[in-house]
């Protein structure tokens, strides 16, 4: 019947489809649906910027207004990918500028963004409203100045955890007096000073500002003045939170905070004088999101005092110095908790501060709505994981990281296979899983058998043989991203089902047993995969023996063949 509806009706129906996956599915139904869908799609999501070219994206979706792009593989976060590997946004911006795309929103993750790109972006798209950069690098505050100066309708400038060279210019002062449309401004990752007077004036004239995250260079007295101008804020990231709690400024801050009755999300506290924390207690009651993962100067006892006020928390990011006892307090206070991330406070893992399985069990028992966890811990037991699996069958994301990557269950000295097995068996909706601890092929058997919805799996120092990897590749039908490091998986696993990789976004394997010959074989059989060998130490060249092991391999499906911007040390087979 739908074929007899005019295109406008189809388009109107498709408008209700929010997710790009639904739209992708719809476009496969028939030619006319494909046609209607492509002309009406405004938000385009590209999970791997090398899977397709900007020209083809624009050709298929000429009315694109919002583009999301992801670049480097996830393991780039942990310094496993050399810095010149790629992921440049410039060609995308150039192509869109050339084609007259009416770009309103650009969201980038793990991409290389130059000042030139930002300047071109600012000049070419007068309707640009939103720029979100996550874990990107390559730009300076000069690029930000270009955005601030030229994007007249900017509502959102959100910089999350980027490496930005701070030229200590006056980028923030570049927002013209006519800029009154800001809803979200996050510059927490910038290192340098901003003109505080300009910042205060900017906040004062942007009455729609809902989200403001300051950087370290904004002191507490400036925060107080800003809050007086913006009591409507919903999300606040403090700058430097240090002052004399007996001062007039601090008292003013307290009354400013009391007026901010809309704040639901709080972060920052990079630099903090714990005696100033009570000023924020009044807003704690309403908080749904709290990120104290950079606040290493808050002691355990003050953290716990703070948590006691936060009974509505849905998301909590915290350091492991909270301890198992502190997590017990979270468990008894935060009954609405859905997402918990516990980061290590001592990266070298000497970890007397670290949490153990006890904290995780307490949380699982106290927080029935928990569905997402990232947990760095000193140790873990199978018994604990089995209990957690029983308590929380709703996990969508489960990421466990033992500080010692191959530590067994300290009570039984067994691998953690049974524990993770319980997790995947119980959590039928699990989409993302990160493993750690001593693990054999058995855990992968369980994953292949039970993790039916699994889309992303991270493996490190795990498994005994190719069987492990094969269990996963054969069993996890919805697998999109698989990243493996330092595990004994080799050619047999890699080549068993080459067609599988076209159903996935990407596969990363480093310090495994895969050889050059196998990579070449794979590349030859699958022309629609780019099989990249990342060859930093010049160990592999054209004359290399096929039996040589490949240190780092990254393969991904693509419609556009080997990329032209690959550096010397990346060899696309």
């Amino acid at each position: 019947m739908m074929n007899y509806f005019p295109d406008e009706v189809l388009e109107h129906v498709f408008d209700f489809l929010e997710s790009h996956r639904d739209r992708n599915a719809v476009s496969l139904v028939c030619q006319s649906w494909y046609r209607v869908e492509r002309f009406s799609r405004e938000k385009v999501f590209i999970g791997n910027c090398y899977a397709i070219s900007p020209e083809r994206v624009i050709a298929r979706f000429p009315r694109v207004r919002s583009l999301t792009l992801k670049g480097k593989p996830h393991f780039a976060d942990f310094n496993l990918v050399p810095s010149d590997w790629g992921g440049f946004v410039l060609p995308w911006i150039e192509a869109m500028a050339r084609s007259g795309v009416n770009l309103e929103e650009l969201r980038l993750k793990r991409m290389v963004v130059s000042d030139e790109s930002l300047e071109l972006l600012a000049r070419s798209f007068p309707n640009l409203r939103s720029l979100v950069l996550v874990s990107c690098e390559g730009f300076t505050t000069d690029g930000l100045a270009a955005i601030a100066s030229n994007c007249r309708f900017l509502t959102e400038l959100d910089l999350q955890e980027n490496e930005v060279e701070d030229r200590r210019g006056q980028w923030l002062s570049c927002f013209p007096d006519s800029c009154t449309s800001l809803v979200s401004l996050n510059f927490a990752c910038l290192k340098g000073e901003v003109n505080l007077a300009a910042l205060e004036r900017l906040v004062a004239r942007n009455h729609n500002l809902r989200s403001l995250r300051l950087n370290h260079a904004v002191p507490l007295d400036a925060l107080q003045k800003i809050l007086m101008q913006a009591p409507q804020l919903v999300d606040l990231g403090t700058g430097s939170y240090v002052h004399d709690p007996d001062s007039d400024t601090y008292n003013k801050l307290k009354s400013a905070v009391q007026k901010c009755t809309s704040i639901r999300s709080l972060s920052g506290f990079l630099d903090v004088a714990p005696r100033c924390l009570p000023a924020i207690y009044p807003i704690c009651l309403n908080l749904t999101s709290l990120n104290l993962s950079y606040a290493s100067l808050i002691h355990n006892s003050e953290l716990i005092k703070l948590i006691h006020h936060c009974s509505q928390l849905q998301r909590l990011w915290i350091l492991d110095c909270i301890g198992d006892k502190g997590l017990g307090v979270v468990a008894s206070t935060c009954k609405e908790l859905q997402e918990l991330r516990v980061f290590p406070s001592d990266i070298h893992g000497v970890g007397s501060a670290a949490v153990t399985e006890e904290g995780l069990v307490a949380i699982s028992a106290g927080c029935p709505k928990l569905n997402s966890i990232l947990y760095f811990c000193q140790q873990m037991t199978n018994a604990a994981l089995i209990t957690v699996a029983k308590n929380c069958p709703n996990f969508i994301r489960f990421r466990l990281c033992t500080l010692n990557p191959t530590i067994p269950d300290p009570v039984t000295m067994q691998p953690l296979d049974e524990g993770f097995g319980a997790i995947v068996q119980s959590c039928k909706g699990l989409k993302r899983l990160s493993l750690s601890g001593l693990l054999t092929d058995q855990v992968f058997l369980y994953i292949g058998m039970y993790a039916e919805q699994l889309e992303m799996l991270s493996v490190a120092f795990a498994g005994d043989s190719d069987k492990g990897m094969l269990y996963v590749l054969n069993g996890c039908k919805k697998l999109k991203k698989l990243e493996i490091r330092d595990s004994p998986f080799g050619n047999v696993a890699l080549l068993a089902d080459v067609g599988k990789y076209e159903t996935m976004r990407s596969l990363w394997m480093s310090s495994c047993e895969v050889t050059l010959g196998a990579c070449k074989t794979l590349a030859k059989k699958m022309p629609r995969l780019n099989v990249e060998v990342i060859n930093e130490n010049d160990l592999i060249d054209a004359s290399s023996d096929d039996r040589q092991k490949v240190e780092k391999m990254y393969l991904y499906r693509t419609l556009v063949g080997p990329r032209e911007d690959a550096p010397e040390f990346v060899w696309t087979l």
Binding site: S135, L270, Y294, V350, N537
Partner: protein, 148 residues
């Protein structure tokens, strides 16, 4: 202080009379932890020492650089012995803001050997200068070589 390879090899600091026989002459490895960050040559050997594993624990590099308020850098504790003192002390040389004057003040405090800090503070009016014997056996004026 030059670093050689991955290990920071440095002798103990000894406060004592010149020419005093080296009772403990072994070059000892410092108590230090090696950052694995950005060290791509580590990719080859799977080291047992977890602190040398690149990218473990998997904390993203932005977080590593911006957390731990400077405690993230390798702590370099050095043993210090003084002739005649019954026990040794340890000093952290890597703490931010440390310099030669901090070192001599710390030594004064730890060993009660007052008098070495004064020439550091006020070189002109002091009768004495602080000197040290370097690894080649030469007597050097404290302060010429940059602290780093």
């Amino acid at each position: 202080m030059a670093t050689q390879g991955l290990g920071l090899e440095i002798t103990e600091l000894r406060l004592g009379l010149p020419g005093g026989g080296p009772e403990k002459n072994e070059k000892k490895r410092m108590f230090s932890e090696i950052e694995g960050e950005g060290n791509s040559s580590n990719g080859h050997g799977k080291t047992q020492n977890k602190s040398q594993v690149v990218g473990w624990p998997p904390v993203c590099s932005y977080r590593k650089k911006n957390s731990f308020n400077g405690r993230e850098t390798a702590k370099t504790y050095v043993k210090v012995s003084m002739d005649g003192a019954p026990f040794l002390r340890k000093i952290d040389l890597s703490a931010p803001g440390k310099g030669y004057s901090d070192l001599v003040m710390a030594l004064e405090k730890l060993f009660g050997c007052f008098g070495i800090a004064e020439p550091m503070k006020d070189a002109d009016s002091s009768e004495y200068v602080p000197i040290y014997e370097d690894k080649d056996g030469d007597w050097m004026l404290v302060g010429d070589v940059p602290w780093e």
